[in-house]
Symmetry: C2
Subunit: 261 residues, 2 copies
DNA sequence: ACAAATTGTGACTTTAGGTCAATTATTGAC
DNA sequence: GTCAATAATTGACCTAAAGTCACAATTTGT
């Protein structure tokens, strides 16, 4: 009995080790750097064993995507529980999205990669469904906030606009903008200096466009962002500051090396 | 002299044949269906010759993306010349974007594929630059319309918002939404029944959020869309209707076959 | 202690991107 | 028209990596 449990546990553990290793490799050396042989070497099992867990390479990637989406769901749910008016809670989700992108670049990178059509060509239907289910769960967290806005009277949507469509818009805008920012270093030349600030502005304007009260110019949403960072995401916020700080230190170090100081 | 010209012409012709064939294959059998051997067979040249044109498979795909972007630029430029107020011209570009997605599904499919990170990992910097230059040209067509809006006094952006950021938002929103619609057939379950209609609504709201006059409720933009379709994109509009019609006919035929009538 | 069942292994197959020495075609001088 | 020089084309070959499977090792139940 407990043997079965142990086996199962070992199975689960190994699976998550495979995924952890795969994520490392993929982040370090890109999609083409990820090979089954390398994973096998890293986890110290043979290739055949990996194939006992995943029927093909693509499914490993999709599984990474599922893990990523799950983590995002965690942040989103915490954000949606922020105490405040519906649109403030929406802003909280915006904070969660930005934190996620900045704090977990590995996850973010994988998510960017998973939009590759070539992966979906090979992954099994069931694994695809798993991912889409996770994505839907994440989106429905947001949809709930929109519904609360309608229920609370702060948002009135015309009959031909479903709450889901609002989320669809925010979701598309945010994910594509972050993706572009990550993959296109020329964005700055293009006039978009700080993609994260842009996205904050753009999502606000979009929500304003739906007349979700209080509108941007009726309320200090920067203040809400600060509150969310401190009250809901205190731990993550600290971590982000550290990361930014150590990053800056590293850049300084590099600069010193270059200038020979 | 003319020999050199002839050679060059032949070179260009063959290159576009390679791309045409590659596009066909990719649309029919996906990224994994596209192999150098298949292209070679289809154009009746050897593999080595293809490598005289393109240093790797990925560059072929990027080249397809450049062709696609070029075609989109054509539509966008025509749209931006629509006679009317700045925001009407913006609406015209929206029409162009939707027409493009619906009328050239092959191009659209390729564009979706090109967002794959694995392609960029291998393509040369110069080819990447070419694509990004094309993308920038396309976006700057739109930026010009935003600038006209500001010049004409219909749009006032706060100092901290660049015209490019507005375009960045519209661009992200639209491309991601179309992409999701193309790749995720479950969107309907998710509450987004007609992605194209959703995008029309969302982009309007976003532009409303920037207070670009006349606002949606001050002006009949559906009417503008109709005018753009008739005046600027008459040919394309006809073609789309035909496509929709023949598609419907085909569905009817299938239904007949199934029901045995 | 041992047979049965489960799990793990890595040599092997296949596929496809990429290379290059040899072949074929083109050019231009005489 | 001939022929050497140059350029273009070819496809056999190389290599990397996904995926398979017969055999080996281990675990389980009796």
């Amino acid at each position: 009995m407990s043997n079965i449990n142990r086996k199962e546990r070992e199975m689960v553990e190994r699976e998550s080790r495979i995924l952890a290793v795969a994520r490392q490799i993929v982040v370090k050396d890109g999609y083409h750097g990820l090979s089954m042989d390398r994973i096998a070497e890293a986890i110290e099992y043979s290739k055949g064993t990996i194939y006992n867990h995943f029927p093909c390479k693509e499914e490993i990637i999709v599984s990474l995507g599922i893990e990523t989406m799950e983590r995002r769901i965690g942040l989103f749910q915490r954000a949606s529980q922020f105490q405040g008016r519906s649109r403030e809670r929406m802003q909280a989700i915006g904070v969660a999205a930005e934190l996620f992108a900045r704090l977990y670049p590995d996850h973010f990178f994988v998510e960017h990669m998973i939009r590759m059509s070539s992966i979906w060509e090979k992954a099994s239907q069931s694994r695809r469904d798993l991912f889409q289910a996770a994505e839907m769960r994440c989106m429905s967290t947001v949809v709930e906030v929109v519904r609360d806005g309608i229920r609370g009277g702060d948002l009135e949507l015309p009959s031909y606009v479903a709450p889901e469509e609002v989320v669809f818009g925010l979701w598309s805008l945010t994910s594509a903008a972050y993706s572009m920012a990550a993959s296109n270093p020329n964005l700055t030349n293009l006039g978009v200096g700080e993609p994260f600030a842009s996205v904050r502005e753009l999502t606000r304007r979009l929500v304003d466009g739906f007349q979700w009260r209080p509108l941007t110019d009726e309320h200090n949403y920067d203040h809400v962002i600060e509150r969310v960072l401190n009250e809901v995401f205190h731990f993550e916020f600290e971590k982000l500051n550290e990361a930014v700080y150590s990053n800056a230190a590293q850049i300084n170090k590099q600069a010193e090396t270059v200038t020979g100081n």
